[in-house]
């Protein structure tokens, strides 16, 4: 263990014919992405406090949370329409409220005042304490949402520009199409798991994008190198060779990132576990899409162009 490696992912000289299954890969991806898009429109993402606005108060009660008593306490403070939910432990409870309707007077001030009302209500319950109390006004949540989407969009564009600059356009376009497909699947995962979509999730998605791009860059880098090395090899075979050569590395890096994120999902606490599960999902999707989506797309887009120089030799 301290001198020679004990384990290997794939033996030297592994040659798996990935390109044979390229249409199956693309079709599976397309089906999953379309399903995710349907999920995105119905039932849709669960927006977190950052993007939805309103208030969230997390409280710890003495013994398991008694929702009826909490509701009664809230009623004494004239707080209505409160959503209650257990959170992590049985004695932890989340109290949620939406912002007042858009036409309500003093909308912002009332959003902020709701937190104090809920605090006063919790104070009437013996032994209960407020762990966390957040209130986000409607104007701020709209702004946070816009900024989150801007960060996502600009990152995608910059990744496109970077790969374009470093490689040829076929590489950049296939990478960004693959990233968008990855992104839709992550959205589908978020809808299915009911993890809240907030700024922390945007951070997770951006990290996944960065990781996934990294993975594609490594494979593409090898494709480019092999394009120079084997001037007459057909593109399909060449891409297959490149994937196989980098397979050990692809699996190695995704394992270490996966292993690093796993403890977060298991012990990171209620606030980070959603983030970590999305990361884990994204690592699996990003790794497989490098092989099954990005590479076949490159083959489709580049079949004529990338091998044009080589053709006359035959």
């Amino acid at each position: 263990m301290f001198e020679r490696p004990l384990l290997r992912f794939v033996p030297n000289g592994t040659r798996i014919n990935f390109m044979r299954g390229r249409f199956l890969g693309l079709a599976t991806s397309a089906v999953l992405s379309v399903a995710s898009l349907i999920l995105f429109f119905h039932p849709g993402l669960t927006l977190g406090l950052d993007f939805r606005g309103g208030i969230v108060v997390e409280a710890r009660t003495q013994g398991p949370a008694d929702f009826a008593r909490i509701r009664a306490a809230l009623a004494t403070q004239h707080v209505a329409a409160a959503g209650l939910q257990s959170f992590g432990a049985p004695d932890d409870v989340l109290i949620r409220m939406d912002t007042p309707p858009a036409d309500a007077p003093d909308r912002e001030a009332r959003t902020q005042a709701m937190v104090d009302s809920v605090r006063h209500a919790i104070a009437t319950l013996p032994g209960a304490q407020v762990l966390r109390a957040d209130a986000v006004g409607a104007s701020v949540s709209a702004e946070l949402f816009r900024n989150g989407m801007l960060a996502l969009g600009i990152s995608l564009l910059m990744i496109l520009a970077y790969i374009w600059f470093r490689f040829e356009w076929e590489f950049a376009v296939s990478a960004v199409i693959t990233l968008v497909l990855d992104l839709t699947k992550t959205v589908g995962f978020l809808v299915l798991t009911h993890f809240e979509f907030d700024l922390v999730m945007v951070a997770a998605i951006l990290t996944i994008l960065g990781y996934s791009t990294n993975d594609k860059v490594v494979v593409y880098d090898r494709v480019r190198e092999n394009l120079r090395k084997y001037r007459t090899m057909p593109l399909a075979e060449l891409i297959d060779l490149s994937i196989n050569e980098t397979l050990s590395r692809t699996l190695g890096t995704s394992s270490t990132v996966f292993l690093a994120a796993l403890p977060l999902a298991l012990f990171g606490g209620a606030s980070l576990s959603g983030f970590a599960w999305v990361m884990l999902f994204g690592i699996v999707v990003g790794t497989s899409s490098s092989i099954f989506i990005a590479a076949p797309l490159l083959l489709l887009l580049g079949e004529r162009r990338l091998r044009r120089d080589a053709r006359p030799a035959r």
């Binding site: 030297n12 109390a133 700024l199 922390v200 945007v202 951070a203 951006l206 590395r249 996966f258 980070l272």
Partner: protein, 518 residues
């Protein structure tokens, strides 16, 4: 590629040692004079505390300025013996408009108004409108400047008010054009602070219009509600006799005669003179103490008050009297502030988060190290040494910049560790491939370093792009995440391209192996 000069090796080792030194303050409890004392700040989500995002009401700054401009216009016109009708302000357009008494006076009006004194040269322009009215328009640049000053001044006053509450290490910063962020570590219930900051505390002294003239609003008179009886309104003259900014001190005390809570205040010399003159001239009339457009008190002046001291009695309790005194001492806000976002975390949740974050970080570190040892042998352990150095350097840079570590930031450190070994994996896999192609140990290692470098730079550059965007557009804890990842990318490039490679090269130079442990 395969040669490290002594100087280069010494510098790599020196950087690592410097990292350890910079980390040390975090391990000690007490500041030590021997060390550069810079620690990582714990974010509010780990430490417990409150975050308030406040919006400065820019509209009111414009309308306040327009109000004074309208007063100035009246005085300038009356002073020149000119008349006016329909004087009005429009906060949206930033204008004061009026109709000249007679069209023939228009030129004289323009002349008188253009001679009005201004705070800043070119603050406003005076024009004749096609409909014959005259408009005084504030220049957008001057308004912008005034708004900027108002926010700066607000920050100063917010700081004074918060300091007066005894909060520890408050952070007050400007955000964007018209927002103020207040961060209060250790204060998990910000209700009191919110109330203090939500009060403008603009106190002014006015005369009350005599009852003989009726209780109606008119030019120069406004009906204002009483604090204790909002339904009851008093006609208050707009003219300010004495301004609350002329106060030097204020304190809460129990009034000896009534046993009620009261706020005592004293004027500075300007205020005392004005107060004496006003009370002298208006014995027998009512004057009003107006706080944020509400009448606190409207007593009848019995005698001239010349000492420069006064007292406000308005049905206070201990808390509200103390608060008002604090607000008067700190000064009035130039414009109302309102909270638009608040986040507060109790100390127990913060401690839970630190525990969860540290546990995850430890477990993730051990898993990655075990993986590298199992899958890459000796070179894997070199990567692990670099990983440890990476963690130390990240902590060192975070301490050096006194950056804020948040819970997502801890997640960022963990992911950096997972991603960092990618560079070593790339190099090792490449060496393995080259060995498989029958190259010698030296040639294989050389090829591994050479080929992997551009890939490593490419992959880190794309990750860097995404996280810089996140830092630019993100707020709060998410920025902490982006910052740690960005710092992590820098330290990763150092530890993988220089440190772990150096370990491998040194090992080769020492043992000259013919077979590599791959």
């Amino acid at each position: 590629m395969m040669y490290y000069s002594r100087l280069k090796m010494a510098s790599v080792v020196a950087v690592c040692l410097l990292g350890v030194v910079l980390c040390l303050p975090n391990a000690l409890r007490q500041p030590s004079a021997a060390l550069p004392w810079r620690q990582i700040h714990l974010g509010l989500d780990l430490r417990g505390g409150s975050y308030l995002l406040m919006q400065v009401d820019m509209q009111s700054i414009t309308s306040d300025r327009l109000q004074t401009l309208a007063d100035g216009t009246r005085q300038a016109l009356l002073g020149a013996g000119l008349g006016y009708r329909n004087i009005a302000t429009d906060a949206q357009a930033g204008t004061v408009t009026f109709t000249p008494r007679d069209p023939s006076e228009t030129d004289a009006d323009l002349k008188a108004l253009r001679a009005m004194p201004t705070a800043v040269p070119g603050e406003f322009s005076v024009d004749r409108r096609p409909d014959g009215n005259i408009a005084i328009t504030l220049s957008p640049a001057a308004m912008h400047e005034r708004a900027r000053e108002a926010v700066t001044q607000s920050i100063e006053i917010v700081r004074r008010r918060i300091d007066a509450t005894g909060a520890v290490d408050p952070e007050i910063t400007r955000q964007g054009d018209d927002r103020i962020v207040v961060e209060l570590p250790g204060i998990s219930d910000p209700e009191h602070v919110k109330r203090l900051l939500g009060t403008t505390a603009k106190m002014t002294f006015h005369m009350v219009q005599d009852n003989a003239l009726g209780t109606v609003a008119g030019p120069g008179v406004t009906l204002l509600p009483m604090v204790n009886a909002p339904d009851q309104k008093l006609p208050i003259l707009d003219h300010v006799e004495v301004d609350g900014s002329d106060l030097t001190n204020a304190g809460a005390a129990i009034d000896q005669q009534t046993g009620e809570w009261a706020v005592n205040f004293s004027f500075d010399s300007v205020g005392a003179r004005a107060f004496a003159a006003t009370t002298q001239a208006n014995i027998g009339h009512r004057f009003a103490i107006v706080l944020d457009n509400k009448v606190v008190q409207a007593p009848v002046i019995r005698s001239a008050i010349t000492g420069g001291n006064g007292q406000i009695v308005g049905g206070f309790d201990a808390q509200s009297a103390t608060d008002l005194a604090l607000l008067l001492r700190a000064g009035a806000l130039p414009a109302p502030l309102s909270v638009i976002e608040q986040r507060s975390i109790g100390p127990s949740l913060g401690a839970d988060s630190i525990r969860a974050g540290a546990l995850s970080l430890g477990a993730g570190f051990v898993l990655v190290i075990a993986f590298m040892g199992l899958f890459y042998g000796r070179f894997g352990w070199y990567a692990n040494v670099a990983l440890l150095a990476n963690l130390v350097l990240m902590a060192a840079l975070l301490s050096l910049f006194q950056a804020t570590l948040t819970l997502p930031g801890m997640a960022g450190m963990l992911l950096t560790l997972g991603m960092a070994v990618d560079a070593n994996i790339l190099i090792n896999e490449r060496i393995r491939e080259e060995v498989g192609r029958g190259r010698t140990a030296l040639a294989a290692m050389q090829a591994g370093f050479e080929r992997a470098t551009s890939t490593i730079v490419d992959s880190n550059a794309t990750a860097l792009l995404a996280h810089v965007m996140l830092f630019v557009f993100g707020t709060g804890p998410v920025r902490g995440f982006a910052l740690t990842i960005t710092i992590g990318i820098v330290t990763t490039l150092f530890t993988t391209l220089l440190l772990s490679r150096m370990l491998m090269v040194r090992w080769y130079a020492r043992t000259r192996p013919t077979v590599l442990p791959v």
